[in-house]
Symmetry: C2
Subunit: 221 residues, 2 copies
């Protein structure tokens, strides 16, 4: 790993488009990044490709539990159907850390319709699973994976950051700003239902107005 | 009433800030507007004040049921606690019409925390109450009442319009554009949970970042 004062970030599900895009952006800014996957081999392949793209050695691959164990900040970016299983698998490695949950509760095939799990936000269930020893933060659900993957692409979308611990939210706001995203502390995890649902609305707008990646901006601040 | 081809709009709860601001904007653009209230007298006072402000005679007052009966398009802008009672009171006058629901499920005192009624959007319950003969549309929850009230104020906020009938949504998108608001057809009523919840987030942002009226813009379209 590079000799670097920036915290190490593990991205569980980092071989997927959204997680990979976030990992790429943080590695590009000098963070040691661990790409997590169910397969250590696929994780390492993704890390090798990222290092080749960036011309650095900031990324490495690992299984999700190994990635979570070795990182100071852990990002969860897996399909909604696998969210709780992924959390259960790494729970023992998260105590005292920040877990940034990027999961969007999309329920195929109607991914453009908001379908809330048990009528609330998906991330609240994760906080309940993990208990107060893990500071769970919801963020990045609305950022186009396509835009993340292209380092020269302006990302015209703000990040709503929700957490029951405001200091943890502030840390994630700063991590977002590091990669060029404007981010806002938007209140407790209960408010994440808006960020989670908004992804379905952006998908609906992309289809109806035939654009590749709509987003949102907060105005008036 | 003025001789005018524009449809008549009733705003139930039109003596409240948000409803009054919307009524003012439509009356300013030439719509015959009926301000509805539980009290016909308070409604007429509000209409008189509006006519004095605008120098026109476009507004008149009535009880909520009389207002609903006389209008082609009905807007509901009442506190969340009174939403379902207000709908029940006017249901018989809504058949075949569009009902635009502006209600935000704010639950005092924690109005900056998203608190969904029964885990879904408030407006879906209204559509269920009224049946398919009324085309219920959700819109305008995120527009600052302060900005609506000042005709010279730029409204730097988009409108998310949700309806199970896309043509009804398109009609409301057009009504929003008439008063200078950019609006988007954001899918079925299930998606309104985002617009309803977003108001709590904007309140949270107003408090945290000490601004009077934050809003949202859709980007990338």
């Amino acid at each position: 790993m590079p000799d670097n004062a920036l915290p190490t970030i593990a991205v569980l599900g980092g071989t997927g488009k959204e997680g990979n895009g976030l990992a790429l952006r943080w590695a590009h800014k000098g963070h040691p990044v661990i790409i997590g996957s169910r397969s250590a081999e696929r994780a390492q392949e993704a890390a090798d490709a990222m290092n080749a793209t960036l011309g650095t050695g900031n990324a490495r691959g690992a299984t999700n539990p190994d990635a979570a164990a070795a990182a100071e900040i852990v990002v969860l970016s897996v399909p909604f159907a696998g969210q709780q299983a992924a959390v259960a698998e790494v729970a023992g490695h998260l105590q005292g850390k920040i877990l940034i949950d990027v999961t969007v509760p999309l329920v195929p095939p109607k991914v453009s319709v908001v379908q809330l799990p048990n009528g609330g936000s998906a991330v609240e269930a994760v906080q309940t699973m993990l208990g107060d020893g893990v500071r769970v933060v919801s963020a990045f659900q609305n950022i186009s994976a396509h835009h993340l993957a292209h380092l020269d692409q302006e990302m015209d979308c703000d990040v709503l950051v929700c957490a029951n611990d405001p200091a943890a939210a502030d840390t994630v706001v700063e991590l977002a700003r590091e990669i060029g995203l404007r981010a806002w502390n938007a209140g407790p995890l209960a408010n994440s239902v808006v960020a989670e649902g908004l992804t379905s609305i952006l998908i609906a707008l992309n289809r109806r107005y035939k654009v590749p990646g709509s987003g949102i901006r907060i105005t008036g601040i």
